[in-house]
Structures are given as C-alpha cells and as structure tokens.
Symmetry: C2
Subunit: 356 residues, 2 copies
C-alpha cells in the first residue's frame, strides 16, 4: 500500500486531489475492538502502556480508513508530572484531587519533564511511526493553556468555570505564572512528541468556548500564541518543511477573529458556524479543519451525504481543507456510518477539486 500523505499536504495547504479526513476521538468507544481492550484496562493504564496505546491508535486506521492516525492519549497526562493528583474515576471523567485554588498552589506547581514524566507517550509515538510507515501520518496532541488550567483549578470537568475565572480576574499575576508553567510544560511535552516522530500536532482548547472574547484576548491569547509559536519553531528545527500545528479552539466560533491570532498552520472549527462563513473569516494563510456536526453520524446516509457535500462545496478549491467532525465522535456512533462519511468526503471532494 502506498503511503497516504493527503493529510500532511492539506495541512501545508498544498493542492490535493481529494480531501483528507480523520475524526477526533477516532480511537474510542464507538468501536467494538476498542471496547474489548478497554474492558480489560483502566483508561490511564492504556495511556501509559505503549503497546496498548499503539494498538488502539491503529484500530481506526485499519478498520475505518481515516487518512491520519492520532495518538491515543489524554491532554491531562502531563498533570502528575506537575504535581497534580490525577485520577480517571469510572463514569465520572478526570478528577484532580489537589486542585489549584490559591496563589500558593500555583507556586507549588512544577514544570513537568516530558521524558521522565511522560516517556511512555514518546515510546508509543516511536512504535507508531514504525507501524504507520506505509500507511498514514501520525498526529500528536496536547491541551492549550486555558483548557488545562480549567481542569487544574476546577478539579474536574465543568461548564461554569467559576474558580478558574475568579483566579484569572482576582489574581492576574498568579494566573500568568500558572499559564506560563502550563505553557512551558506543553511546549516541552509537545516538542518531545515532535522529536519522537509526531508529524503534526493538534493543540486542543476544548473549553475555550466558555470564555468571553475580552477575556480570551487579555488572559489567554498571549499564552496560546507563545505555545504555538514555540512549537512551530521547534518543528522547523526537526523537519525542514515544518511540523503542522493544528489549533482547535472548540466552541469559539463567534471569536474566530481572535483565536486565529494565536497562530498555527491549521484552524480547527466546530459545527456551530457555516463553513461558507468560516472560509471568509479564517485568513488564507491557514488551512481549515472541520466541521460536520458529530451527531451527523446518527443521520440517514442520504442526509449525511448532503451535509458532507455542503461543507465540501463551501470550501470549494481553497487549498488546505482537512475534513473532521466539529467535536469528538460520540461513543454510540455506528462505525459503518463513519466509513460512509469518509467515502462521501473522498468521492465528492475528488469531484469538486477535479472540476476546478
């Protein structure tokens, strides 16, 4: 099988004969093959065991047919290295038993060492590059500073962010110290992923959609930009043409003018915005990743096909489109629908791009 580099070419805004597609959370519970493994191991145990991480990372490449693999892991794995007591409680998601609530808590945080604290991630990446040699590129990933800060401060997932924003507004110096320590951790962590062989990096700002534009601009953007700029520079040192950085500010489609100022090569967008508008708002120097409603995989095939075509036609022949869900695939999705979506993307994008 010839190496499929559609994803990397699109991420670099080179012309492609069709549009590459991958799915956030593609190594996940919607697949029986994943559930079989997950039944035997804890979530963090899977992240920390390279053989297991490698196995589930490869599943959607082999069984669903995506154009890129993304490392099976979690944005929170660097937390223990920073001094945080992280647990994935069954059915509850992540819990941090010693959340960051005071200025002293911020002072106590360490910058994690990527190799000493998360060497298992780099090991998984090295194995994966070998396994994927004749297949598809490998995406590494991590969390953006705000999203990581919010887990650290709240101590668990939330939709409110009272403690996070209260610290941001009340203790701006401690906030800067915190965001800088997180930024340093993420830069080192994702640079090590690049060194280990990750061919693109996605930076997930999963909860930034709960932040007002004025607060994003003042308290978040400089830190996100510092991380993305550093990773961009590091990528150029490792690979001549650079390692594409995908910036995904989830739920922030009403402030794309601001989020794209954080830089990167690819802007990921959720499904709350029409692709036709996104194409207008997102500067031409960026590739675009997105943006079908993840629940579209519960639609009948003909409606799913309509949705795919609408997005592809809105992008037209603009170089640099990576098709993806606007958010992670839902755990009850039908793998056959995912396969159908991928087929629709490939067929219709080849037609649209061929007509140009």
């Amino acid at each position: 099988m010839a190496y499929n580099d559609l994803f990397l070419r699109a991420a670099r805004r080179e012309a492609t004969e069709s549009t590459p597609v991958w799915m956030m959370r593609q190594a996940g519970r919607y697949m029986q093959e994943y559930r079989d493994i997950r039944a035997k191991y804890g979530f963090l145990e899977m992240c920390r065991t390279p053989e297991l991480a490698v196995e589930v990372t490869l599943q959607p490449v082999d069984l669903i047919g995506v154009d890129a693999a993304i490392l099976f892991s979690d944005i929170l794995v660097p937390f223990p290295g920073m001094g945080l007591d992280l647990e994935f409680a069954a059915g509850e998601g992540p819990v941090i038993h010693n959340p960051v609530r005071t200025v002293e808590d911020v002072h106590r945080l360490r910058v994690a060492d990527p190799i000493e604290d998360t060497g298992y991630v780099m090991e998984a990446i090295r194995i994966l590059r070998g396994e994927l040699e004749n297949k598809v590129p490998l995406i590494g990933f991590g969390g953006a500073p705000f999203t990581l800060a919010s887990y650290m401060i709240e101590g668990h997932g939330t939709r409110d962010y009272e403690y996070t924003k209260a610290l941001m507004w009340s203790e701006p110096k401690a906030w800067d110290e915190l965001m800088t320590k997180i930024g340093d951790t993420v830069i080192a962590y994702l640079s090590a992923q690049i060194d280990a062989g990750a061919q693109a990096i996605q930076v997930f700002d999963s909860w930034i959609g709960y932040v007002a534009p004025r607060d994003y601009e003042r308290y978040v953007l400089p830190h996100s930009k510092r991380v993305i700029d550093a990773l961009t520079a590091h990528g150029r040192k490792v690979v001549a043409e650079g390692v594409p950085i995908i910036h995904f500010p989830n739920g922030a489609t009403s402030m794309l003018d601001l989020t794209q100022q954080a830089g990167g090569d690819v802007i990921g967008i959720d499904w709350r915005i029409d692709m036709a508008r996104a194409v207008q708002v997102i500067d031409e120097r960026f590739a675009i990743q997105g943006n079908i409603d993840p629940v579209a995989l519960f639609a009948p095939e003909d409606e799913l096909e309509h949705m795919v075509v609408e997005i592809l036609e809105a992008v037209g022949t603009r170089p640099g489109h990576i098709f993806n869900l606007g958010h992670g695939i839902h755990k009850t999705s039908d793998p056959d629908k995912a396969r159908a979506m991928i087929r629709f993307v490939h067929e219709h994008s080849a037609r649209i791009r061929g007509e140009a």
Copy 2:
C-alpha cells in the same frame, strides 16, 4: 415609589435615561431568601403554587433591585398537559419518564390547554401584576420549540442531542408534526400569559447553540418564527403598543444572522460574542438584551465594573439595550455582587447616555 418602566421602554427601543437590568434565573438559589422557601417545597410544587411562585418572583425586585420581574416557573411546565410524565428529580434536573422517540409517540402528544393544564401560572401572573403595580414590569416566559423538543425526546438534559437530531433528520414529517404541536402549545400558553397580564415575553431557546446553522435554518427557524409571529400578533390585540417578545437563542452567537430572522422585538445574546460585534450584526429594528459573562459576578468589583462599562460603551446610545447576564445567574453567586453590578449599569449608562 414611582413605577419603573425603564425595561418596557428599552424593549420598545424608546430612549431611556439609563439602561434597565434584570438577570436570568434572578429568582433562584443564590438568594438565602429563596433557599429558605425551596427547602420546604419541591421545585414543581413551587411552580404550581401561585403564592409561592409570587413570593420568590418578588424577592429579587425587593432585595436586589432589578428593573423587571420575571415569573418564577420553568419552561417545561406545559409538558404534563401534552401527555408527558415530568419529574424534577433531586439533584438531577428534569426527567421525562415517557420520552418521545417514535413517530407513534409524536402522534400521541396532545396540544396542552393553557388554562386547564397550567392555570396556576396565569393565577400567579394576575397576583403579581397587583403586587408589582407601583414597582416594575412583569416578564412571562416559555421555551422555544427546539429546546422543548430536545427535552421531550432525550428525556433529560444533555449536550449531545443524538435522539433529537436523529428524529429530525430521519423523520422530517414527524419532526414537523412534533414542532407544530409544541408550537401550538407554546403559542396558546404564552398568549394566555399575555392575557393574564405578562407585559413582555421571553422565549428561551436554551439549547439551540448545539444545532448547526444549516439545521437551524431548515428544521427550527420556521417553527420559532411561527411562535414569535403569533405572540407578536396576540400582544398587539391585548395591548395597543404591543407586548415585547424577547427571543433568546442561547449559545448561538455564531449564527445571529439566522436566529434574528425568527423575529421578536428584543434579541438576547450570550457572552460568547463581543457586544461591539453584536451591535453590528443585529438589525437596528431589534433591541438587544445581554451580555455579561454570568461568572463575572465572581470577579472583584473593579473588574466587574470594567466589564459592565465595556458592554455599555459598545452599545453607546443605540436605543433599546436591556442589560442582562449572558446566561442564568449561578447558584453560588454573591447577591451583593449582583447589587453592585446593577448599580454600575445604572450609573455608567446614565453617564454614557447623558453625554450624547
């Protein structure tokens, strides 16, 4: 005390000497006086007992100083009249024990009778109008069709809407029948609120922010518009100058071009968009309600004041601004901060509007 009609004048886009303010969920758990009553009664019991609903509706008017009262109730109270088995389970929010999942379920649904099924709401409104005679206007409210459909179909609160969207895409005729039955129920219910004396009506589309613009336009907008148009027409029959309709499409700030097509007099916006941009995007025929981050009440007073001023200055002297949180007030908010926010709104808006 002179009657304070700031809110009504702003809703009608008349010039006001300062900006009126109220808070979504202002009769709620952040107030000790509310918690004292809530400790003794169930949530639905409070909605269904006019004396209790009246008492907690008046609390923020008397104790916090808002410029409008909003009926204490819930958007789901018409559900039992439609044949749905609604319960507010302790700590879990609303549960519908017989959710709508099939075409047959849709056929079985009834259009509720506003007086027979929810006469207690109309009784509370009549009492409140008497109590508020020398105080402030009274806002009635209900749910928009999509938001009500999503509760009905999912059976509880969610962030995914798989069942809802699957029905919408798979069974468009049943979806239309469902949305029409809901629309008919809401039109009758809110018309009865107007008849009972509600001086403005807010239509909450609380979960519309999870719907893609293409689906909003095809499957939701016509139904929202039908409801709002009917209420607008009914209001004009009851009150010569009309009863202002506030349309609040929560979380949908990246498709304001579409949501405002549903009509109404006031567009409510959440905090995910800068007010400066909202003022550009929202047509001048609408008043605007919003849009401070509800978590801003956890900020120090000087930062809270900055945020208030930024919003007021972005609106400038455009007629028709009602200050509100971008979403409901959080239950752990400090009532003193709410009072401070209201003072900042009144003082700075008087200055800004006086300078013109």
